[in-house]
């Protein structure tokens, strides 16, 4: 997993609440057995018209957000299905940071496991607005801050997940260090 530290980028503003993972990556694209190549299908139903041409009204099709690495959205982002294809498609498309007032639990976990920084920030609507105005933001995981347009916001993150993200650790390798504890548990319980 690639470590996440600091980045400055334009902000793609997705001004919707309760964006579900069926919208992030529709089910017809879940049949692949690989982890890669999902970016082309991100927000498929919204990004493309029925004839397969890009829907010019959808915000991500606006040239200003072509290289955005930050996505700002409304509350309860990533609700619904547990499909990890959702963070895979966001990452493959180019997003490294997602900022929303709240996230669904499984989606949030899935982001952490893939090195995507999901930031819970009550003021996400201000970043959506900044994104619409073409402004950029700086995100720094070490100091847990988002800087944008003269504002600095602090965000909370579990210290364990923070270390994982900063170092790009493989969680399974870490857990193997607790093998004795697992074996001991199994002896007495399973």
């Amino acid at each position: 997993m690639e470590p996440v530290k600091k980045l400055t980028s334009s902000i793609a503003p997705l001004d919707r609440i309760n964006v579900d993972t069926d919208q992030i990556i529709p089910k017809q694209f879940l049949k692949r057995i690989e982890r890669t190549g999902f970016g082309q299908f991100l927000f498929y139903g919204w990004r493309f018209n029925e004839d397969g041409t890009p829907n010019q009204d959808f915000i991500l099709n606006h040239p200003a957000y072509k290289n955005a690495e930050i996505l700002a959205a409304g509350e309860n982002f990533g609700c619904g299905s547990s499909r990890e294809h959702a963070p895979w498609s966001l990452q493959d498309y180019g997003f490294k940071v997602i900022i929303a007032p709240s996230f669904a639990d499984i989606f949030y976990n899935n982001c952490v496991k893939n090195g995507i920084l999901a930031i819970r920030l009550e003021e996400a609507d201000q970043l959506i607005q900044a994104g619409k105005e073409g402004k950029s933001a700086e995100v720094d995981l070490e100091s847990q801050t988002v800087n944008c347009d003269g504002h600095t916001w602090h965000f909370d993150i579990d210290p364990y997940w923070k270390q994982m993200l900063l170092n790009g650790w493989d969680e399974i390798s870490i857990t193997f260090q607790y093998e004795d504890a697992i074996s001991k548990y199994e002896e007495s319980h399973v």
Partner: protein
């Protein structure tokens, strides 16, 4: 101090704990299906890792399986995904109920059916509806594919202790009101993210009176209220359901039963939050929007923007009604449908099929409607045929199918065409869920059957079937 079942099961499974760190939790049962597992197995192979406890893992094929002709899988990518699961199970020695196996079915239907699901267990699956197993007093939750890989190789997960929530359903359910209506009413009342960060325990008289199948319907949709897990304290009904199941050894039953019942929440235990709903405020429900909280009782109208104060909610309503092609304020009973789907991990068990058959018996599916019944498992299908339910459905004009997830998410050939409307007993009405451009209305099996007959949403209580 008195403890909730949530704390008891959690504490029982801590392998390692340390301050400022999530707990390392042991997983008793890992259920696997073809969609969310291939990349996890591939991850093991790339790193030369093994499956720690194949004996605590169980796999089936459900999402992609054809429900008409099992011999023909039209989509080569679906076929490859199923073959990949079979190959992975063989390579890593994991038991598999493949498409032609008598134990095959929707993963959340067969777990309880086989007695794999038991009170006090920690159960995970790469599927958000794993919460279904909570009906037995198990701590059961959905995980992503990275976590699937983690469980395969370590049989554990790092998890932060959740907050606890009680959702109390007080009083007695009215005539014609089902478990599905209860959970839709809960989600509608408290919202799609009410349970985020919590594990929910459902309590109250209405829950206690429910059968195990009905409790599964309630717990199944916990995730639709944002809760990763929703459970119900085990009681005599729980133990009775599990008696003589394949994975419940008869000679250990009494001992197991005692242990199971000991997990129940203790008198006076305190939750971080309690929400209450009264059974008498619930009537048969129909969703009209594009998330499961956007629903109303059958006698209500579609809301209007003026019913909301927040702008984001007004905007969400506008987007939902535009997708659903409905107008603000129109009566729910004016909505005409073209498809009926009875099935899914929410409502495909024998009790669900009986409830629908009771409404449909001696009647005909409306001429504008295409209707299918997809039993949740091969076992459910056999049982229904033994009772003659298949004949009731077929005589009415329903298609009687093989088991699988089917039209709940339309990964196989069971797809609702764009622009058409489906009364569905499944769990999600998200845009495009049942097919690109398809419009989904979530209802109970009885309400789906009523809609099949009349071609529009109809109050099943007025159909003279409960006399």
């Amino acid at each position: 101090m008195a403890k909730t079942i949530i704390e008891k099961v959690w504490n029982d499974h801590i392998v390692y704990e340390e301050e400022n760190k999530p707990d390392l939790l042991y997983i008793d049962l890992h259920l696997i299906h073809e969609v969310t597992s291939p990349q996890a197995f591939e991850g093991l192979r790339l790193k030369g890792r093994k499956v720690r406890r194949p004996d605590l893992s169980f796999a089936t094929m459900d999402h992609n399986v054809p429900t008409k002709n099992r011999e023909v899988i039209k989509d080569p990518v679906s076929k490859q995904q199923m073959n990949t699961l079979a190959d992975n199970c063989k390579e890593f020695n994991i038991p598999l109920a493949h498409m032609h196996h008598p134990d095959q079915g929707i993963v959340h239907v067969i777990g309880p059916e086989l007695g794999l699901t038991q009170p006090g267990k920690t159960i995970v699956c790469g599927d958000s509806h794993t919460s279904t197993h909570g009906a037995f007093g198990a701590l059961a939750f959905g995980i992503g594919t990275s976590e699937v890989e983690h469980v395969l190789s370590t049989q554990t997960l790092w998890q932060s202790k959740p907050k606890t929530m009680e959702i109390k359903v007080e009083g007695e359910l009215g005539f014609g009101v089902t478990a599905k209506d209860v959970i839709l009413a809960i989600i509608s009342k408290f919202g799609v993210d009410a349970g985020t960060g919590y594990v929910v325990e459902y309590t109250g008289d209405a829950i206690r009176k429910m059968s195990m199948e009905e409790r599964m319907t309630v717990c199944n949709m916990s995730i639709e209220a944002g809760a990763r897990a929703g459970l119900i304290s085990p009681d005599e009904k729980t133990a009775e359901f599990l008696k003589n199941r394949a994975h419940v050894p008869a000679e250990q039953y009494e001992e197991l039963k005692e242990k199971w019942l000991s997990y129940a929440t203790e008198e006076g235990a305190v939750y971080d939050k309690t929400l209450t709903i009264h059974a008498d405020e619930i009537e048969p429900f129909v969703t009209w929007g594009t998330n499961p909280s956007m629903g109303s009782g059958i006698s209500a109208n579609v809301p209007t923007a003026s019913d909301y104060t927040q702008n984001s909610k007004k905007e969400e309503l506008k987007q939902a009604l535009s997708y659903m092609d409905l107008s603000e304020g129109m009566p729910i009973t004016d909505i005409e449908i073209q498809h009926v789907f009875i099935g899914s991990c929410t409502n495909s068990r024998i009790g669900d099929l009986r409830a629908a058959a009771k409404v449909i018996e001696g009647k005909k599916v409306h001429e504008n409607v295409t209707a299918i019944v997809v039993p949740g498992s091969f076992t459910v299908k056999m049982k229904a045929e033994e009772e003659g339910l298949d004949q009731i459905f077929k005589n009415a004009g329903f298609d009687w199918r093989e088991s699988g997830c089917s039209m709940c998410l339309a990964m196989n050939d069971d797809i609702v065409p764009a622009g058409e409307r489906c009364a569905s007993t499944s769990n999600r009405n998200f845009e495009g869920r049942q097919g690109a451009g398809a419009r989904t209305h979530l209802v109970s099996p009885a309400m789906a059957a009523a809609a099949a007959v009349t071609g529009r949403f109809t109050d099943v209580r007025k159909m003279n079937v409960y006399a």
